[in-house]
């Protein structure tokens, strides 16, 4: 099993990296750049037997280490 985890800043939390990227894109001449939010993508191989067990494990990993839930949301996809 593979867990694919997206960690993103919550709405309303200042994303300075996103702001820098937006400025960079505008500087390259791309028109119409709005808000840019930069997140983190984590892939984890798991020995779990089924998708439900893998998801439960990945959720714990997010809560304990991969995301700081004060400022970040996470989304988990499980692939076979």
């Amino acid at each position: 099993m593979k867990a694919k985890i997206h960690v993103t800043l919550k709405n309303g939390v200042l994303d300075v990296q996103g702001k820098a990227v937006a400025a960079g894109l505008a500087g390259l001449g791309f028109p119409g750049i709005g808000d840019v939010r930069v997140g983190r993508y984590v892939e984890i191989e798991l020995a779990a037997k089924d998708a439900a067990a893998a998801e439960a494990q990945a959720k714990q990993m997010c809560e304990k280490l991969l995301a700081n839930t004060v400022i970040e949301n996470y989304r988990i996809e499980i692939a076979g």
Binding site: L14, V16, L65, V70, I71
Partner: protein, 236 residues
């Protein structure tokens, strides 16, 4: 006073903290490596120093907060042992949950390395009782992620509980945007836990304690009262 400094891979201000404590107490702290699972017995003070533990991987302080030694630090803190986290140490304390909130990247997108002015927000604690309320002090900062953030409920709890230790200000003591180097909410530079036994702050009081740096070098000795206060409170 028996103290220890926890050293992580990437810590870099541990010797400055040790010097400041030695100047105030006459006794050198024990250095504890992050892979150790035990702290010395009978500690009065634990310091988490500045630096870039684990290369700031994942989030600043996130990896260090989950290292074996931090389980011990949390257990001691829960029993009332005093803990100070400076800069990266503050980030680690927030990541462990010993202190509320989190440190985001500086709002100006830049690493800031200079002196800042701070207003003492609570002078009634073991860390700050050698300052007067509202006193303006000058400490150096050196960070990229010092932008303190907490949700409105947490902020209210901090205000109501007198848990704000220092606020960034102008040299005249105005806690305005002009005096705020990194975008911290409410100009917050340092906070206490609810019982005031744990302090975290981004500026470096340990780098404002060396008499050799004052005068033409422009250093500050404003950090000395903090270490004197700690020694005062914890010496038996």
């Amino acid at each position: 006073m028996k103290s220890a400094i926890v050293v992580f891979p990437g810590s870099n201000r541990e010797n400055d903290a040790a010097d400041a404590i030695e100047r105030a107490s006459g006794k050198r702290p024990a250095m504890v490596w992050h892979k150790d699972s035990e702290l010395p017995e009978g500690l009065d003070l634990i310091v988490l120093p500045g630096g870039f533990s684990y290369g700031d991987y994942l989030r600043c302080g996130a990896m260090a907060a989950r290292s074996p030694i931090m389980r011990e630090v949390i257990a001691r803190a829960d029993k009332g042992t005093a803990v100070v986290g400076v800069c990266n140490g503050f980030q680690i304390l927030c990541e462990t949950g010993l202190l509320p909130g989190v440190l985001l990247s500086n709002s100006g997108l830049k690493f800031i390395c200079r002196d800042v002015h701070l207003k003492v927000a609570n002078s009634q604690t073991m860390f700050t009782h050698r300052y007067s309320a509202g006193q303006v002090v000058r400490f150096p900062v050196a960070h990229h992620d010092g932008n303190y953030f907490a949700d409105p409920d947490t902020l209210k709890r901090l205000e109501d509980g007198d848990q704000i230790a220092f606020r960034y200000c102008t040299p005249d003591g105005e806690t305005t945007t002009e005096g705020n180097p990194n975008g911290s909410i409410g100009n917050i530079a340092g906070v206490f836990n609810a019982t005031k036994s744990v302090l975290g702050l981004m500026p470096h009081p340990e780098n404002a304690t060396d008499p050799a740096t004052v005068g033409s070098l422009g250093g500050s000795l404003d950090g000395k009262p903090m270490f004197d206060a700690i020694v005062d409170a914890l010496s038996k």
